[in-house]
Structure formats: C-alpha cells, structure tokens
C-alpha cells in the first residue's frame, strides 16, 4: 500500500490527489492529517494521475501535507448476528462502549441489484397495530413504504410505534423455526435530542435487543450520511437473507441524506437537476429503496419505512416526488390532523399502499378487508368534500344523506384514526371499528362491499337504516 503526500486541491468535502498507480472507482481512502487524525473517504472519480476523494468526516484539518492511503477495496460493512442490540455511528463503528465487533463476513455496502427474476412477490401482512396502516394502507413484508411528513410533526412517534408493535402473524403450519423480527434503525442527521428520544424508547420497551442502531447526528459530517443507509441496508440484507430474520428498516431522515447528495454534487460542480439536486438522485435513491424485498428460497425479508420531512409540506418537492415514484406507496402525516390532536395524525386519503391488494383478503387477513377499506375511503373522501360545503351553506342546508357522510368523517377520525401512540390494535379490532362506522350509512350506500359481507357484518342497530334518525346536530 502506497502513501501519497500529493494533495493538490481541497474543496468542500472533496480532496484531489495525484497518484502514479491505477485507483479503482469507489475505492476506500484513509487520509492522515498532520495532527495524526485519520479520516476516511471514497474515490468519486478516478482518472490517469488524479483522483477525486469525498471525505466522510469533512475536510477540516486536512492540508496539502496530509498523507493519503488507498486501501485497494471498496467500502465494506462487517456483519454478524451479534450486531443485534448494538449502537453504531454513521460509519458502522460501535459507540455504545460495548466490545469490538467480530465480523462473520465483510460485505460490500454498494449492494448489487436483486435480479427481478429471483425476487419473491411480497404478500404477507405485517401487523403494525395502527388502524390507519393495517386497515387502510396495509404494510406487507418486503415492501418499502415511506412516511411523508414535515417539520414539527410526530413522525418519529409513529415510526417508534411501528417499530415497537410490528409483528408478523406466522403461518399456521409452523414447519421449521419461526423467523424472528429485527429492527434496524438508521438515523441520518437527526438532532441529539431526537436521538435520545429514540434511544430511551428503545431501552424502555426492550426493543433494543432485537435492533441495530446506526446514528449519524445533525452535527456529524454530512458526507457520512451518504454511506449510513448503505451500511444499514447491507446489515439488513445479511440478517434477512442469510440469517432468516424479518427485518424492518427505519431510515430517518431521508431529506438530510438528499441534502448531503446535493452538497457533494455542488462541490464537484456537477450540472444540477431540479432545485439543485443532482440529476442522478432518482437512481441513487432507487439503489437504496430497491434493496427492500424478498428473495425466492430465502426465509427472511427486508421491509423499509423511510421517513422524510417534506420541505414546506410540499409533496412535489424533488425528494418526496422521486421517493414516491420508487416506493410502493406512502403514508402522509398531516399537520391539520396533528393540530386537532389526532394520534397518529395520518391522512389516509393521499396515503397508499400499493402492495395492499395482494397482502389482504381471505387466508391472509380477513375476507372483507379490501371491501371495508375501499368503502371507508370513498365515504371519508365524500365526507371530507362535504366539509367544504358546510362552511358555506351550513349543515341544515344539506340532505340527510350528506349529513350521514359528515358524521361518518368525524367519527372516522375520532374512533378509527385517533388511537393514541401507545395503543396496539389487532386487525380484527380495526375491522370491527370499521364496520361500526360503516353501519352509520344505509346499506345501499355500501356499493363497494360484497352483499355477503354486508349480511354478515352490518350492524342493524347502528342507525344507518333508520329513516327518522336526526343527524343534523
């Protein structure tokens, strides 16, 4: 291994050095400063004689005298089952004071794409215990379902609730060992306070035992954030596809990750795409999100819940926009519902789980699940629309039918959505509440529900059928 003292230019997070041997693209670099500090980086561009290096810890303290060592390999993550229960920094080094990690394997953090032919289609339900998700936007194993939120919203509480409650109803047959559940938590640029909340919650509920935590805090180097999610996902893939865990990956906050990408792009003087983000951001994000999934012949799965705060609560901003095009749906956290005190403040109308249809129904959840959720969507959407009208003409001016929909929307928010961050609701319970609410409407309004289900579940005494019910309050 040769050492060079040939740094020619230092600019933002980038260092340019002259070399006299062939250096591979993406290779790992160590830079030792005059003060004896060792910084790590990665080759961003390699050409004859000159390489561009992105330094994870930031370039402060580096001068032209610093020495550069090329390690001759791309970045690797040491993986082992013993990682469970550990807390690591954004580059995968333990920060919990525990023993050193003895890796079973060292895996390349730039995961190769899964051959679509080798994937197995995700269709097994994950019960999160949150009605807005289980009932209306069901999560399945191997899915990537982001939470679209904005600053000041309780997305972390929702994520913690999911991490705490998530379970996979195991197949009845029980041949062989049941796969275990593991949570891998990747924090990118979150504040120390937020991090503490997460850690306290992990410790309080004993969830840490089945978790691996990667922490890149707000004051940690931004460039490091570009490797943190890759470390997280490499660990997830190892646990899922070699150790048979069902892994739930929570990445927060993807917005900080994208800011770091933009920072590097700007430092390299690249032609920017929309709003200054690099043109390859779609590809880059896809390389993270697409690492969710299941593989034929392997028992485990990787499910992702990335969290992103939408700048200005605007979902057309490039970060949520590109994310939405890659992920299989999204859960919206709504500031209005939050200010009304709903917990979790999930707005189900724009939310969507693309894999829901294949993960629910007879044999998977309950036969009426799909119909119930469709009908509740339609009814809540109608009630929402009518609210605008009420503001103009008042409730009295509306028909009895319209009033029923307005009541439905109110009760839907109060009884179905607002369950509190500490309540773990089973799917049965969620669907029963759904039927309680749907029975407020006359039977013939339930045009999305199969007749048989109406006969089985419709509550005759709930007022939906009585003509004389006074609904206008």
């Amino acid at each position: 291994m040769k050492e060079y003292q040939t740094i020619t230019e230092i600019s933002g997070p980038l260092v340019y050095a002259e070399v006299d041997e062939a250096i591979g693209y993406d290779e790992i670099v160590e830079i030792e400063t005059a003060q004896g500090e060792t910084l790590r980086g990665q080759v961003l561009e390699s050409s004859d004689g000159v390489v561009a290096i992105q330094v994870f810890e930031g370039t402060s303290g580096i001068d032209q005298e610093a020495s550069v060592r090329f390690l001759g390999e791309t970045m690797k993550m040491p993986v082992t089952e013993d990682l469970l229960g550990r807390v690591l920094d954004g580059s995968g080094r333990p920060i919990d004071g525990g023993p050193d990690i003895v890796p079973e394997e060292r895996q390349d953090i730039v995961g190769a794409a899964i051959n679509p032919y080798s994937r197995e289609y995700p269709e097994e339900f994950i019960e999160t215990g949150v009605s807005a998700i289980d009932g209306m936007n069901t999560l399945v194993r191997g899915q990537k379902l982001p939470i679209f939120s904005s600053s000041g919203q309780p997305h972390s509480e929702l994520a913690m609730q999911i991490a705490r409650q998530a379970s996979v109803p195991e197949e009845e047959e029980g041949d062989g060992e049941a796969s275990e559940f593991a949570v891998i938590f990747g924090a990118m640029g979150i504040t120390a306070e937020e991090a503490n909340e997460f850690m306290e919650d992990f410790e309080r509920t004993g969830a840490l035992e089945r978790s691996v935590v990667f922490m890149n805090l707000a004051d940690d180097p931004a460039v490091e954030r570009t490797v943190t999610p890759r470390m997280v996902l490499t660990t997830a893939e190892y646990l899922a596809f070699e150790k048979d865990y069902h892994v739930l990956v929570i990445l927060t906050d993807m917005t900080n990750y994208c800011e770091a990408l933009r920072e590097i792009g700007a430092a390299r003087e690249e032609v920017p795409g929309r709003r200054g983000y690099p043109g390859y951001m779609y590809t880059d994000l896809a390389q993270l999100y697409e690492r969710a999934g299941r593989i034929e012949g392997r028992d485990g799965s990787v499910t992702q819940i990335p969290i992103l705060t939408m700048p200005g609560d605007d979902d057309t901003h490039p970060i949520p926009d590109l994310t939405g095009y890659i992920t299989e749906g999204q859960i919206y956290v709504d500031p209005d519902l939050n200010s009304q005190g709903l917990q979790p403040p999930v707005n189900v109308l724009p939310s969507l789980s693309r894999l829901m249809d294949d993960g629910i129904g007879e044999g998977l959840t309950r036969a009426d699940h799909g119909d119930v959720s469709d009908q509740m969507y339609a009814a809540y959407a109608e009630g929402e629309d009518l609210r605008d009208l009420v503001n103009i003409v008042g409730r009295e001016a509306l028909s009895e039918r319209d009033n029923k929909y307005l009541d439905f929307a109110d009760r839907f928010e109060k009884e179905f959505i607002d369950q509190g961050f500490d309540t773990n609701r089973g799917l049965e319970e969620t669907l029963e509440i759904g039927w309680d609410l749907l029975s407020m409407l006359p039977k013939e309004e339930l045009n999305r529900v199969d007749q048989d289900f109406i006969e089985e579940y419709y509550r005759e005494d709930a007022g939906g059928e009585t003509e004389t019910e006074a609904t206008a309050d």
């Binding site: 899964i114 032609v271 390859y280 926009d321 103009i392």
Partner: protein, 589 residues
C-alpha cells in the same frame, strides 16, 4: 456477434471512471460501437469521440474499475438477437435473459461481467419450410415457420440486410426438422445463408414499405378506454400521472387484455416487486382471445430502477426493435413502456455526466428528438414482405409532482394521438382507473368508429357522445353544487347529476382486481351504456309526467347498474334490469 466486414478495431485503455461514464484512450471506435470495459469485461457503448479519447456509457456497475484496465472494441453497434425464443422470456435492458443470468451467476443478485445470448443457442426448433428450391425470395420474405409458443407461429424471414431493396435471390437448398437457431435453414444462390436467428441494431428502425392510417382499434377490455378514448392498432398513447394514480395498473391491464397478437412490456426504471408481480402473474393468466397462458404472447424487458442507468436508456430501444421484428411477420404488436420519464431521466443523467449543455430542466436538448424517434417507430405498416402489421406504443409518463407542463409530458403530447390523463384526486377517492374524462382525448375516435359500428352497434358513436355530454354537464353543475348545494338545483339538473353518477361509478370505474370486471368486452361496455341511457330516458319521462325527482332517484332497480360490471352473464342481467327500471319508473305515474 455475427461476422461483419468491420474487423475488430484496435483496443484501448481506461483513462478515467466516474459512475457509469468511462473515458478510454487510444480506442479506435465508431459512435455507438459496443465495447467491453475493464478486466471484468463490462458491456458499454461509445457515446462521444474526441481526438484520441472515447467516452463510453457502461451498462453495469463500475465500482472498483480503475484507469489502465483494457477496453475491447467489438466494432459493432448495440444489437439484439432476433429469432424464436424471444417470447415467454424476461430480459434486462440489453437483452440478457434474467433467468439465464440467475443460473450463470448462481446468486439472486446481478453480478457484473456476465453475458448471455438473447436467444437460447442450443435449443432446437421444428422448422417447417414454406418455400421450395428454385423459388425467388426477397428481403423479409418468409421462408418457413416455427411453433414458438402455443399461441404464436414464428415466421422465419430473410434478414433485410442480406439483400438490396427489390433484389431477389433463388433458393438453392432447404433444410427442415429440428434445428438450432444458428443452423442454416435456407441457402440462396448468391451464397447467403438464412438461419432462424438474425441481429438488428437497436437504434435503427427495421425497414418497411409504408405507414398506413390505422383503422382497427386495439381493444383493451377497459370501458373508459374502449368506450371513450380508444387507441388504434398501430397508434400511440401516453399515460401521464403523478405517483399513486395507477399508471402501472393501467399498463398491466393493457398488457393482459389488449387484443394484440404480441405484447412487449418494457419495465423501464420500474419497481422490482412490480416486475416480479408480472413474472408471477402472466404465466398463470389466460389470454382472453386464445385461452393460452399470457406469457405465450409476451416478452418482458425489466430494467428496474436500481439496475444500471445506461441499460435503462437502451431498454426502450431493445423493446421496440423486438416489436418491429414481430410486426414484420404480420403480427399486431403492442409495446408498453413504463415509464418513459425514467428513460428520459437516464438520458439526462448520462448527458450531465458528459457535461453537455442542458436544455429545459436539465434534460438534454435532444430529448424531443429522441422521444419522437421512438414513437415514430410505432404505426400500422405495410412490411417489406407484403404483409401488414402494426406496432402500438403506449408510454407511461411520470411527471414530477404530477405537473403536466414538464418537458417529458409536453414533448410526448406533441407526438402521441391518445392521451389518458391520470388524476390523483380520482385515485384518492379510489375511482379506478383514475383516468380523467375531461382532460383525456383520442384523436383516433373518428377513424375507429366504423369498426365499432360494424362489430358492436350502429349507434356506438352517438351513445358515446351522449355519455360525454352528460359528463361535461355534470362538471359544470358540480361547480354550482359546490356553492349552493345539490338541493338548490332544478329537478332536471338533479336528475342529470344522478345519471352522471351512474356513468362515473358503474361505467367509468372498473375493478381491475375483480375476476369478471377486470375485462369488459366492447359488447358489454355498450350494453352497460345503453342501460344507463334507458335509466336516463325513462327517468326524464317520469319527471315530465310530474313524478318528484326524489322518488325517481330512489327506485330500487337503479343501484343494480353498479353490479353489471361483475356479472358474467351480463346480457340476461342487462335485459332484466332494463325492463325492471322501465317498469318501476312507469309505475310511478
């Protein structure tokens, strides 16, 4: 690769690497030549030449590749292998079969530097000649057939590049029976040998005689498409929509139920799980016209979003070249590209790595040209062998933020003649397919009407116009309703709203996940519309006779319209329902 005159050119070495773009020195290559980069032999394509440096886009991940490694030139442009075995196969963007890759790599991950021929070279096919010794054949002429799948007879043709235009040659020898794709099946007197396999450069359209006006619809079994916004066989369509509005489901429905002979489905930058769904579902689904498995008429190209960006750029070309090949056999081919925005973004990404001067929103200035070149390869053609065939191209567009004013949508709309606008609001209220009936259009409507009149009913165009008028009126009335409430409207307008509601809920909505409703033949589409028209006519008669609108709306028969879609024996159901509606309404006065 076949032996062409262009001998292998001089090889070069890598000068620099940055993501998918590699610069080589001393490489003597032509534009668009395919090269193998580095010790691992990663496949790439020449995209820029300047002095002695050559810029290459690499179709595989470039981690760990370093300057000084060799670059080998094949001297040939990017080509696809054409021949029996294309159907019932799933490829990546440069036509490597994904199942073969899995075998060769022995891992569920896509490794680098593994190549595989586009069609199986060892497999034997039963060749049945259709020419005799002494016959004169020209370019593109069929010399025999092979049963490629249960659905499709593969026609073996004289490759267009071995004879001049209008030149013919005499057949001097014929083989028949079991043969591999590389064995010669027919020999010509000019020395040329025809085998089942031919190659064609992907960026070049296969020759035809002329483009004709398409007059047959591509029947999709989707009510809103067939009924209101039909596309022709040989037509072009765009489906733009924000995420979550159902582009992919619409594309899948078309791939499953469109009455084309061949389906080429290009998943360009799509989700891995979605492609897996296609791979899982299609072999099990039945082709509604033949009853055979859908895969027997389908070729899939899957370049998911995390697969190399350069291969994403080439995958639509791979798809349309295969489509043209089947068109040459006289088949109607439908190509779905999901999504063309990802393709455009791949161009943008490569272009920015080349530091080209960007056009609008960072897209390269040649974006519009590339899009129109692609869509122009679709059409209803007279082929060079005298047969007629078509390629219909249906491209999904994913506009950022659902804003249709962005460059990819706008440039696409300038070319395509059918526009199916997906609407997030409709999707939000679970109105699927969420195609907005006010914004969408089809410029093929008039030229396709004779077909529908002939095949379904004489008054097809009038009925359609009636539905459009009612929906238009509803849109206007809804604006008033938003202000004053429904009850403030005059009774006849309230009734129009009710009729429009059935049009929206029963006719325009269609449940892709219901086993019966998912496919609606044009006859059923028509009968459903006439049922709603019956309701409309009878209801207005009743209103005129003095029946209050509330009573009319409340009749028990009307909601049954919503269940026509799920009826298997719809003819009887519709007959009964029509008389039920008529009786019930007439009993009111």
């Amino acid at each position: 690769m076949s032996q062409t005159e262009a001998a292998v050119r001089d090889d070069g070495i890598i000068a620099s690497v940055s993501g998918p773009v590699v610069v080589a020195r001393d490489l003597d290559a032509r534009m668009n030549d395919v090269v193998y980069v580095g010790d691992e032999g990663l496949m790439g394509e020449v995209i820029e030449i300047e002095d002695d440096t050559t810029t290459i886009q690499v179709y595989e991940e470039t981690s760990g590749i370093s300057p000084g490694e060799p670059v080998e030139n094949t001297g040939e442009p990017l080509t696809v292998d054409l021949g029996p075995g294309l159907l019932d196969t799933i490829y990546d963007g440069v036509q490597r079969p994904l199942d073969v890759l899995e075998d060769k790599m022995g891992s569920p991950y896509l490794d680098r530097g593994v190549d595989a021929p586009g069609i199986e070279l060892d497999e034997e096919w039963e060749f049945e000649p259709e020419v005799a010794e002494g016959d004169e054949v020209g370019r593109g002429d069929v010399v025999g057939t092979v049963e490629e799948t249960v659905t499709i007879d593969h026609k073996v043709m004289v490759p267009p590049d071995i004879l001049e235009e209008d030149e013919t040659a005499e057949v001097v020898a014929i083989e028949s029976g079991s043969m591999t794709v590389e064995e010669t099946v027919v020999e010509l007197d000019n020395g040329a040998e025809v085998s089942m396999r031919q190659e064609w450069p992907v960026r070049e359209a296969r020759p035809t005689v002329e483009k004709k006006t398409p007059r047959t619809p591509l029947v999709s079994g989707q009510r809103i498409l067939d009924g209101l916004f039909p596309i022709a066989k040989g037509g072009t369509a765009a489906i733009p929509g924000p995420f979550g509005s159902g582009k992919t489901v619409t594309q899948h429905q078309l791939a499953k139920y469109a009455d084309a002979d061949i389906i080429i489905y290009v998943g360009c930058g799509e989700r891995g799980n979605e492609m897996t769904e296609v791979i899982d579902d299609f072999p099990e689904l039945e082709d509604p016209s033949t009853g055979n498995p859908l895969m027997a008429r389908t070729s899939l190209i899957a370049n998911t979003s995390n697969m190399p960006v350069a291969a994403r750029e080439s995958c639509v070309y791979t798809g349309i070249t295969i489509a043209e090949f089947y068109r040459d056999m006289g088949y109607d081919v439908a190509l779905m590209a999901d999504s063309t925005s990802r393709w455009a973004e791949a161009m943008r990404e490569i272009s920015s790595r080349l530091e080209e001067m960007p056009g609008e929103e960072g897209y390269p200035a040649y974006l519009a040209a590339r899009l129109s070149q692609f869509y122009e390869r679709a059409g209803y053609f007279e082929n060079i062998n005298g047969t007629e065939g078509s390629v219909s191209a249906i491209g999904a567009v994913s506009p950022p933020g659902g804003d249709f004013s962005e460059p990819v949508t706008q440039n696409t709309l300038r070319i395509v003649k059918t526009f199916w606008a997906l609407d997030a609001d409709l999707a939000e209220r679970r109105h699927f397919p969420s195609i907005n009936w006010n914004e969408s259009y089809s410029l093929y409507k008039d030229q396709l009407d004779p077909w529908f009149q002939d095949a379904v009913a004489d008054d097809w165009p009038e009925k359609r116009q009636w539905a459009v008028d009612v929906l238009d009126e509803e849109t206007e009335l809804q604006e008033i309703v938003q202000l004053v409430g429904k009850d403030a409207l005059p009774e006849d307008q309230q009734l129009t709203l009710e009729v429009a509601r059935y049009l929206r809920e029963a006719y325009l909505q269609q449940n892709a996940f219901h086993p019966v409703d998912t496919y609606c033949p044009p006859e059923k589409t028509y009968l459903m519309l006439t049922t709603i028209k019956t309701l409309n006519d009878e209801a207005f008669d009743a209103l005129e006779a003095g029946v209050p609108v509330d009573e009319i709306i409340d009749i028990d028969a009307a909601p049954k319209i919503n269940r026509i879609g799920v009826q298997e024996d719809y003819e009887e159901y519709v007959d009964d329902l029509k008389s039920e509606i008529t009786e019930e309404l007439r009993s009111l006065y």
